[in-house]
């Protein structure tokens, strides 16, 4: 835990960061790299946001609800009121947080498998309503033609975020770094210790002066807000959303898988899962085996989890402890 500027940890992290910052200068217009890495950061961010709440010990299987509400909130606001995507994405996050507030009220006393199941079921509520409210949400037709991110002016330079893949890459990199920082606080700070105490033994934590309900609620709200934000970003990046796309089980389950794969107690764990699995699948497996890529994907998950029950990050950590 020595945080000096020269520790190898900081060096490694900085090296990786520098790589991601400067690799575009080497690659110029490698569209595949930008597309894949943008989505990698995106899923990394989603996994980090999900893990914030998972750190309290309650596993959610319903984050697609926040994601979908964020996407729809953002897309509809931009469709009807023509606000800048920057504003609507924030609004999307808030819509997610409002639903998170409902969760804390309704599911506040649920734990474990019952909590997981209640969250899983709660995805259906906004999904079916949006699917049937055709006059406002376009129902099953989905929202199409969502405006992309508007250009940002920095001094005299204008960055076209809507068109430039490179700009989107940096945008998602920044988002992910911010969420990574929040995630780090959740593990390392005093708040993080409270969260950890909750996870290990709730009654004991409350004896020690942790406000159980407050800590859980705030964590969930933050997690929901960030997931909603991701949903909004997704809507504006893709330009179209449909209920089955944004309220899918895939969106709820993938963060869990990425996090478990990377290591759920590690600062970079969820991100690590995304950084390994997503590019590997999209660039390598898909082109190697157009039909069987999921078999490789599944096998990697099985084998990794059999050998590293705490995620692949724990392997690195363990190797370090022993050496």
């Amino acid at each position: 835990m020595i945080r000096t500027a020269t520790s190898p940890a900081v060096l490694g992290f900085t090296a990786a960061l520098l790589f991601f910052i400067f690799s575009p200068f080497l690659l110029q217009d490698n569209a595949v790299y930008y597309r894949v890495m943008t989505m990698t950061f995106f899923y990394g961010a989603l996994a980090l946001a999900w893990n914030l709440y998972a750190l309290t010990g309650n596993i959610s299987l319903g984050h697609a609800a926040f994601f979908g509400l964020g996407a729809y909130g953002s897309a509809l606001l931009s469709h009807y009121w023509h606000l800048s995507p920057w504003a609507t994405v924030l609004f999307g996050g808030m819509v997610g947080a409002v639903y998170g507030l409902l969760w804390t009220v309704a599911f506040g006393c649920l734990r474990g498998a019952r909590f997981a199941l209640a969250t899983l079921a709660s995805v259906e509520i906004p999904r079916v309503i949006i699917d049937n409210w055709e006059s406002f949400t376009f129902g099953s037709l989905g929202v199409v033609g969502i405006t992309g991110f508007s250009a940002v002016r920095v001094g005299s330079v204008s960055i076209a975020l809507g068109e430039s893949l490179k700009a989107q890459y940096y945008l998602l990199l920044c988002c992910t770094l911010v969420i990574l920082l929040i995630h780090r606080q959740f593990i390392k700070s005093k708040w993080g210790w409270a969260v950890r105490a909750l996870r290990e033994e709730e009654t004991a934590a409350s004896m020690l002066g942790v406000n159980v309900h407050f800590t859980r609620s705030v964590t969930l709200l933050l997690s929901a807000f960030l997931t909603g934000l991701c949903g909004g970003v997704y809507a504006h990046l893709m330009g179209l959303i449909e209920p089955p796309l944004v309220f899918s089980l895939h969106i709820s389950a993938l963060p869990l898988v990425l996090t478990m794969f990377g290591g759920r107690y590690l600062v970079c764990g969820p991100l690590l899962g995304a950084l390994i699995l997503y590019p590997l699948d999209q660039v390598l497996f898909h082109s190697l085996l157009p039909v069987g890529h999921s078999i490789l994907y599944g096998l990697i998950i099985i084998v990794t989890l059999l050998f590293f029950p705490h995620g692949i990050g724990s392997w690195v950590q363990r190797r370090r402890t022993f050496s």
Binding site: M1, F19, A31, S140, V267
Partner: protein, 403 residues
């Protein structure tokens, strides 16, 4: 914090190796090198059945072109990718095909929500994209995309269906059930408006999620409201359950019409006797082809069955038709001695005039097919009989078994 360095070392090396592999491809496209054609379809997951069918149609078209010498001495090479029914995967894979594999054109695509993003990508990179089974109208409305073509559209389904209902069946009360997908929803809305124009009552107009395991309560409602025709905009699998439960519950209906999923040889095989009397729609099927293309159609069925060991169907034919259009356009560009660029291929596509088993293929200015029209078929004793339109009729409507 110490973990960072060790965690990031493997990532950095992984990313570097991926980057290298991303960069190393491409280039080196000489004159004798194969012409690469990219295909994006849902090869796995829920839509795998139709994705695979389209894939086989495309593959057959490519192999056929190669066996007749390719284009100007160059062979075609098909690169297939799976879109997993997710737009971001479709985009990644399309981008990979265009950027890394340097394909000359793209074909395939089964779901509108995935065809849309790919078509935009195609426009951005100026690569032609001929979609195989896209229906939605919104795709060719609004912003003009000169690189996007498709061999099917929704009017080709809705128009013949509506005139069939109004002119032939003349029902009093119709129930419309549609799936909660964009294509099926649009279909449901259009059918409703044309039936209401003809003063036909629609007491039941409902949507359902594809994959529902049970329709018995819905069928009870059908019985209670005494509709005589049920139009079901579900898909292959939904008809399997719906038709079986309908037969089991002895729901009295004059006609059951399923525009998608009924007119498939495999559907008739799976349902057996229970399929008798059902109405379906298709653009093509073995034995059902546009005028003048009968011989070509028969040759296709024979060749395809010999190659894949199964009967082709209308979805296969959509894949075949789209690939055929692209192949023909590429051939024309090369034979006229022009350079194989996206713009040249698109120009060739726009001037294309091909008689194919499924349709007389010509594209209009928006990239829509000019002559795409499906026919209404009825299942009679395990065979598909064309009953509408009149000029393609091969038999009369058999009244459903009145047992």
């Amino acid at each position: 914090m110490n973990i960072f360095s060790n965690i990031f070392k493997p990532i950095v090396s992984l990313v570097v190796s991926l980057t290298v592999s991303v960069c190393s491809a491409g280039a080196a496209l000489g004159n004798s090198s194969p012409i690469r054609v990219g295909e994006i379809d849902p090869l796995t997951g829920k839509l795998a059945k139709h994705g695979q069918e389209i894939h086989e149609g495309i593959l057959y078209a490519i192999e056929q072109a190669n066996s007749t010498g390719g284009a100007a001495g160059r062979k075609f090479e098909l690169l297939s990718r799976d879109d997993q029914s997710q737009p971001e995967v479709a985009i990644n894979q399309a981008e990979d095909l265009i950027y890394r594999e340097q394909v000359a054109g793209l074909v395939g695509g089964y779901v509108d929500s995935l065809v849309g993003p790919i078509s935009e990508l195609a426009a951005k990179h100026q690569v032609p994209y001929v979609a195989s089974a896209s229906l939605q109208q919104g795709l060719t409305l609004g912003r003009h995309n000169p690189y996007f073509f498709r061999v099917a559209h929704l009017q080709g389904v809705v128009e013949p269906l509506c005139s069939f209902l109004i002119q032939e069946l003349k029902p009093d009360r119709v129930a419309v059930l549609y799936a909660s997908t964009p294509g099926s929803t649009e279909f449901g809305q259009q059918v409703r408006s044309c039936l209401l124009d003809a003063a036909i009552e629609i007491p039941i107009f409902e949507k359902f999620r594809p994959g529902s395991p049970d329709f018995s309560a819905f069928l009870l409602k059908i019985r209670r409201s005494r509709v005589d025709v049920l139009i079901s905009g579900g898909f292959f699998a939904d008809h399997l359950i719906l038709v079986r439960q309908m037969k089991e519950q002895k729901i009295p209906l004059r006609a059951y019409i399923g525009p998608w999923g009924i007119a498939y040889p495999s559907f008739l095989e799976a349902m057996g006797e229970a399929a008798h009397g059902l109405f379906g729609m298709c653009a093509w099927n073995p034995g059902i082809a546009v005028a003048g293309a009968d011989k070509q159609s028969r040759a296709f069925v024979e060749g395809f069955t010999a190659r894949f060991g199964k009967t082709p169907n209308t979805t296969t034919m959509h894949g075949y038709t789209s690939a055929k259009a692209l192949i023909e356009a590429i051939r024309r560009v090369l034979e006229s001695g022009k350079e194989l660029t996206g713009d040249n291929i698109c120009r060739a596509l726009r001037s294309l005039d091909l008689l194919l088993p499924m349709e007389h293929l010509q594209f209009d200015l928006k990239g829509d097919p000019k002559h795409y029209q499906q026919v209404v078929v009825q299942v009679q004793k395990g065979e598909m009989v064309t009953v509408y339109p009149a000029d393609r009729k091969t038999g009369e409507i058999a009244q459903p078994s009145s047992e």
